[in-house]
């Protein structure tokens, strides 16, 4: 059994141009060194029934032993406000905010603090192990604490506050439920003896949603809070409950109030990591690990569902104790990509304990791009980096009730999965839920990603390398371009190629990416889509931080978690998220087919339809017997039509010139339609009774000599290599590719 996790790492940047430097950030808790080798990836899937791992070493100066060290991960999001004189002001103090706790019983949590965990000094407003609000003051080696008499209610808004009245020698907590009825009222006040005259610690950051373990400007943090915080305020008087509540209710506390220490407005700069203070002290801060922004505040009233329309209703941030978006590891190896290297999928291989029972072989993936304006081939294959990120470190099979029923068989876990089960600090995928049950909406590449590398889970990255393997096998040159760059450069990146292939699962698209493909196809580009469930979700990329994407799943589509009402617009861009189908651009409009079903019982062959005999596309079916099934073998379920499949539908945008060439429409009871395919409730929706549960192969010409060919199935790519690459799927794909690289227009369609 190969150990794929004894050393882990990430490459930064994830995508690099020839001539640029890539750095490898590595960590091992057990190994002191490993043998490093840079590899070009042809096939990343170790399945012995297929091509197997195919990796070649170009030979670089970096190859050789690398010393390793342990670089721990510190998950948990928070806001850090660096120390400032206004925060050290002696005398009374009031702190308050609105709170929507999502895991009040998860253990000690801190909401607002200026607290030195190592010294037990300062103040903190938090939640104790019993889920009760507590306010704590530590000074002069002594600690004062007051606790609310009844626990907070999960996922219910509550106003909370902590007050130090040092003249009276008293501390208080305030807790007021915003919906105090039907058993939801947890309103409570409590008071306890407190210090008279305190001195606050020096050099201590104010932390929102956690507390500092140490001093300094960038402390490690602990006691992370799960849930939303809205309108946190700090005031240098001992306010009564009504006054403190009024201060928090106010969207714009008067900055001229000399006792107003800070009033953070999380509705400002929502796409960024900045938190803004409205007070005259300008105590702005920085967010760590991308907590969710653009979240409904306690004042949200349903009058809009877009934060851009009424930001003042979106003054909440949802913090998670397991957020992880920047591992912060130091680099161990650096390498400048030689100018003459081909673009491609690449990986750093790390080996140790070779020859033992438990040899280590772990990979760190990166991509060498074909830079804008420098194509070396007429063909580009897209590395679906948005999809790879969306699935990065998926724990779906570990955590989700439906996984085994969906997959129609026992779950098979890799060594990576077993590791991830124990090591949630890696951060999960946008398919997963946080420890508080809410969905992960962001994914970044500044952390080890277990399922985007050779030997990793094959879904997406591994399956796509079967297309690379096939291109290499037929001797076809190609460039690799990435989703990140298509988003950044748009149509001009695609325009450098006569033909562009999208892979087995190009599921996640930003508007700029979709616009780029639309423009490319209208401008005479040829697009081969060799997958299923493509062009499905609408995402955003971070405006400044590379390789960071966001999805809000909303309340439609095949969603492994459901977004909350009003929280389905992208914080990175302000755009709506959800399905492209719900955003007026169904996949059928772009590629002729669109997602309709999953089928995991097995994969199926297609049968040819009469339109495959159309004389205008004779070139496509040359050497193929149209009386025989297409794709009756494959590495995923024994056929080419399976896993996730797409169908033609004119009402969703499949164009009039489309030729519907082949279909796999007998998917039996294992063919389960996607949720947006059902308008009304009735039995008979599964593939054994429903002809709209199917995979379709389609072709249509576009403007200026362009064209689109789509196969409508994730399993397609893994059928290319069957029978030593001599099969109908391979022949059809080859015929289409040859013709698509030939500049002659497609005649007879107008």
């Amino acid at each position: 059994m190969t150990d794929t996790t004894a050393v882990l790492g990430y490459a930064w940047p994830l995508v690099v141009s020839p001539g640029e430097e890539v750095a490898f950030h590595l960590s091992s808790a057990t190994l002191e060194e490993a043998e490093a080798t840079l590899l070009r990836v042809r096939c990343a899937d170790p399945d012995p029934d297929g091509p197997g791992l195919r990796l070649t070493a170009p030979g670089t100066p970096l190859d050789g032993l690398v010393a390793l060290r342990h670089q721990p991960l510190h998950p948990g999001s928070c806001a850090i406000i660096p120390d400032a004189p206004a925060l050290r002001r002696p005398g009374p103090l009031s702190v308050g905010c609105f709170l929507w706790p999502t895991a009040p019983l998860a253990g000690r949590q801190t909401i607002l603090s200026r607290w030195r965990g190592d010294q037990g000094e300062g103040w903190r407003l938090g939640i104790d192990a019993e889920g009760c609000l507590e306010f704590e003051v530590g000074a002069h080696g002594q600690c004062w604490r007051v606790t609310a008499p009844q626990p907070l209610l999960e996922r219910e808004w509550v106003f909370v506050g902590g007050v130090l009245d040092d003249a009276a020698g008293e501390i208080r907590v305030v807790q007021q439920s915003l919906d105090p009825q039907a058993g939801r009222d947890r309103s409570a006040d409590a008071a306890a003896p407190g210090p008279r005259g305190v001195t606050w610690p020096e050099a201590t950051a104010l932390v929102i949603a956690a507390e500092a373990r140490e001093g300094g400007e960038t402390p490690l943090t602990e006691a992370h809070y799960d849930g939303k915080i809205d309108r946190p305020r700090l005031h240098a008087t001992a306010l009564d409950a009504a006054a403190l509540r009024a201060l928090c209710e106010s969207l714009t506390p008067p900055p001229g109030d000399p006792n107003l220490i800070a009033a953070w407005d999380f509705a400002r700069d929502i796409p960024t990591a900045h938190v803004r203070d409205l007070s005259a002290n300008r105590l702005d801060g920085t967010l760590r690990h991308l907590p969710m922004r653009g979240m409904t505040g306690a004042n949200w009233d349903g009058s809009t569902v877009q934060w851009t329309e009424a930001p003042h209703l979106y003054g909440a941030i949802h913090f998670h104790s397991d957020d992880m978006h920047d591992a912060g590891w130091s680099p161990d190896l650096r390498f400048t990509i030689p100018a003459d290297w081909r673009s491609g999928f690449y990986a750093l291989r790390l080996r140790a304990r070779q020859g033992s029972d438990d040899p280590v072989e772990s990979f760190v993936a990166f991509f060498v791009r074909a830079p804008l304006g420098q194509p070396r081939s007429k063909l580009a294959l897209v590395a679906s980096t948005a999809t790879f990120l969306a699935y990065a470190n998926s724990a779906l099979r570990l955590d989700q009730v439906h996984a085994e029923a969906m997959l129609e068989g026992l779950l098979t876990l890799s060594r990576d999965d077993v590791y991830l089960q124990e090591h949630r600090e890696l951060g999960l995928s946008t398919y997963d839920t946080h420890s508080d049950g809410s969905g992960w909406s962001y994914s970044t590449a500044k952390r080890p990603i277990l399922n985007m590398r050779p030997r990793g889970a094959t879904f997406n990255y591994g399956n796509d390398t079967h297309i690379i393997d096939w291109l290499e096998q037929i001797g076809q040159d190609y460039d690799i371009i990435t989703d990140d760059d298509i988003h950044r450069h748009g149509a001009q990146l695609l325009a450098g190629y006569r033909c562009v292939i999208t892979g087995s699962h190009p599921e996640y698209f930003s508007r700029a990416m979709l616009d780029a493909f639309d423009s490319y196809q209208r401008g005479g580009g040829r697009h081969i889509y060799l997958g299923g469930n493509g062009f499905y979700w609408r995402i955003g990329w971070h405006p400044t931080e590379p390789h960071s994407m966001e999805i809000r799943r909303g309340m439609n589509g095949l969603r492994t978690w459901e977004g909350e009402a009003g929280e389905n617009a992208l914080s990175f861009t302000g755009e709506p998220s959800g399905l492209w189908r719900s955003n007026g651009r169904p996949p059928q409009r772009l590629v002729g087919v669109g997602f309709d079903a999953q089928v995991f019982t097995r994969s199926y062959p297609y049968r040819w339809r009469e339109e495959a005999r159309d004389p205008r596309i004779r070139w496509m079916v040359e050497g193929i017997d149209l009386e025989k099934p297409l794709g009756d073998a494959g590495l995923r379920g024994g056929g080419a039509a399976g896993l996730e499949v797409d169908r033609v539908d004119a009402t969703l945008g499949s164009p009039p010139h489309l030729l519907w060439l082949a279909t796999a429409d007998q998917l039996d009871y294992g063919g389960v339609p996607t949720l947006e395919e059902l308008r009304t409730l009735h039995r008979g929706a599964m593939g054994d009774q429903n002809a709209r549960v199917r995979a379709d192969v389609a072709f249509f010409p576009t403007a200026r000599g362009g064209a689109v060919f789509s196969t409508g199935s994730i399993a397609w790519a893994c059928a290319l290599s069957c029978d030593n690459y001599d099969n109908g799927v391979s022949r059809l794909t080859g015929n289409v590719l040859r013709r698509f690289l030939d500049p002659r227009p497609f005649e007879g369609f107008d």
Partner: protein
């Protein structure tokens, strides 16, 4: 927040339906009759008796029985003595465990509980 309820699958299992056991034993990967589909859904939805899984020892060749701990961060339980070289045999072995958990009845040709 809509969540999947592990207790939602409630098709009543009839311990007398040994015909379903036999159907599964003969063809663990399907296709299955309507009643067997319902039995398997009942078993798979909740992962009856704490979810058994397979751990890949060699890709697509060798698997070891394991069990999910039901709690994030806890290790996967492994059964090094229960190694399979055939997915159908693994499916059958777990079916036997789940049948006993659901009906209280051991299957005659079932191997001992892991």
């Amino acid at each position: 927040m809509l969540v999947n309820d592990p207790e939602a699958a409630h098709w009543p299992v009839d311990p007398a339906r040994l015909d379903l056991v036999e159907e599964f034993r003969r063809r663990p990967r399907g296709p299955h009759s309507d009643a067997l589909q319902k039995l398997l859904h009942r078993m798979r939805w909740s992962g009856v008796g704490q979810r058994h899984v397979l751990i890949v020892l060699e890709p697509n060749r060798r698997w070891m029985l394991g069990r999910l701990p039901g709690r994030r961060g806890a290790p996967v339980e492994t059964f090094p003595n229960r190694v399979f070289t055939d997915l159908a045999a693994a499916e059958w072995a777990v079916f036997v465990l789940r049948w006993e958990a659901l009906t209280g009845q051991k299957l005659e040709d079932g191997s001992s509980a892991a």
